[in-house]
């Protein structure tokens, strides 16, 4: 609790809110939806044996945008948060606004990383699957 360094970059009792917590999962879900809908519409129109390439290009572009947004979000959280995953920043017993912000900061950072992984996993099939079949 007494560490000074992690809190340097933000004012005490500020730094994060619920919107920032759900930002990355929202990007992930939109990316997921867009990729699957894009591929589904493309394959419905082009037929079962069609080349997936046009949809793939779209999926890669979307993946790039999604990863950039999530990366930006992660970076912001990384800066306002401490650099440790395991230190006593996890002490949340006092029910204070400052603790709430630190807790939300941790949650947001974890969700951000998870969303990044999720976006990559959604894109992997587009790398390996070449046709609508």
């Amino acid at each position: 609790m007494s560490k000074a360094a992690p809190h340097k970059r933000r004012r005490v009792e500020t730094g994060t809110d619920l919107c920032q917590v759900i930002a990355a999962p929202i990007v992930w879900s939109l990316h997921f939806l867009a990729c699957y809908v894009w591929a589904a519409i493309h394959c419905e129109k082009a037929g079962r044996m069609a080349d997936l390439d046009p949809a793939r290009t779209g999926i890669f572009v979307l993946t790039g945008i999604a990863l950039a947004l999530i990366g930006f979000n992660t970076l912001r959280l990384w800066r306002i948060r401490a650099r440790s995953l395991t230190d006593d920043d996890f002490d949340y017993d006092h029910d204070t606004p400052e603790e709430r912000h630190r807790f939300l900061g941790h949650v947001a950072l974890m969700l951000s990383v998870l969303s990044g992984v999720g976006v990559i996993y959604v894109a992997i099939p587009a790398v390996l699957v070449g046709t609508c079949r």
Binding site: M49, R83, S84, L85, T86, D87, V113, V117, I120, Y121, I124, P125, V127, L128, V129, G130, T131, R133
Partner: protein, 329 residues
């Protein structure tokens, strides 16, 4: 039901006939005729490889995790630095699972079938799964359909397309040693492509619960050398002959077709070359004693089977029917 236990076809092949039925039931999972880990086809070989890769990988990861836990408990070393702990969490908890699962996803995706309609198979087999048996139509080289039941004979090395459907409920067609399973769905035709490689006797099963006799909805899959398959196909295409008077008088012909002899109804399995099949109804040894019991009480072997009991037949009538069916080579 002991009468079932004493006759079930799959158990006959168990190498040790002195084991009790309960032990046999446990060992049924080890029967290579129905084991995906004893592959006899290309697809099954890929599935078995995937299984072993994942099983060995899981054991290694399990050992490392428990090793780390034991090390943490028994070692008397000082606590590590915060940075060290962070690295363990980052690599062990984030990077390693992400990369490992990503690699498994990529491996799994490479196993997806990638053939298209531009690559016709060597053989087409049309299968209708019905409660609780399998209607099988082999498409001959001239396009003619040759119907049989509860038996699939395949040439080794050939690419075979199974066109799967069902008139009643959803079943699933699965010959574990040859490859993956695929559902048979009423109103739809699913196509499963397999390439059997090793001649032998295998057991196909229904892999989607479909009713009271789901577990008895099996069939024999026989992979034979290509030249034997040509002979088999020619033999199956021939019409049958024999004295069917008792068979017809008892009403059997209303549901069972025997090509060239009785062609009235086709609700039940085609019996044209019944005596050439290894099983009755896919599960029982094809002997006349067992067939006598089956005709008298089909539901004793397959609960809910559509075939009525014919226990009212006199011995003479039954003998005549058995003689007729026994002659359908």
């Amino acid at each position: 039901m002991p009468v079932i236990a004493s006759h079930l076809h799959a158990w006959r092949r168990n190498p040790n006939p002195w084991l009790g039925p309960a032990t046999l039931a446990l060992l049924a999972g080890c029967n290579p005729a129905q084991s995906v880990l004893h592959p006899a086809g290309e697809d099954a070989a890929e599935i078995a490889r995937l299984f072993w890769v994942m099983a060995v990988g899981a054991v290694v990861i399990w050992a490392v995790v428990f090793g780390a836990a034991v090390f943490a408990i028994v070692s008397r070393r000082k606590p590590t630095t915060e940075r060290g702990a962070d690295l363990v969490v980052l690599f062990g908890g984030v990077v390693f699972p992400t990369v490992t699962l990503g690699a498994l996803l990529a491996y799994g995706l490479t196993l997806l079938p990638d053939w298209g309609p531009g690559e016709p198979p060597d053989l087409r087999v049309h299968v209708e799964a019905e409660q609780y048996w399998w209607r099988v139509r082999i498409e001959g080289p001239d396009g003619a359909m040759i119907e049989t039941a509860n038996e699939v004979v395949l040439p080794a090395g050939a690419e075979v397309d199974f066109h799967l459907t069902s008139p009643d409920v959803i079943h699933s067609f699965w010959i574990p040693p040859l490859g993956g399973k695929m559902d048979t769905i009423p109103g739809r035709e699913n196509v499963l492509r397999l390439r059997p490689t090793t001649p032998g006797l295998y057991r196909g099963i229904c892999a989607e619960f479909c009713g009271a006799s789901h577990a008895f909805m099996a069939f024999e899959a026989r992979v034979v050398p290509p030249e034997d398959f040509t002979a088999y196909l020619a033999a199956q295409a021939e019409p049958a002959s024999g004295d069917a008077s008792a068979f017809v008088a008892a009403g059997c012909g209303g549901c069972h077709t025997v090509r060239g002899v009785v062609e009235l109804g086709a609700t039940g399995p085609d019996l044209t070359h019944f005596a050439s099949r290894a099983t009755i109804a896919g599960i029982l040894d094809n002997t006349s004693e067992i067939l006598r019991e089956w005709i008298a009480h089909p539901v004793a072997f397959k609960p809910d089977a559509r075939m009525p009991s014919y226990d009212m037949l006199t011995d003479d009538q039954m003998d005549a029917i058995l003689a007729f069916l026994g002659g359908l080579k």
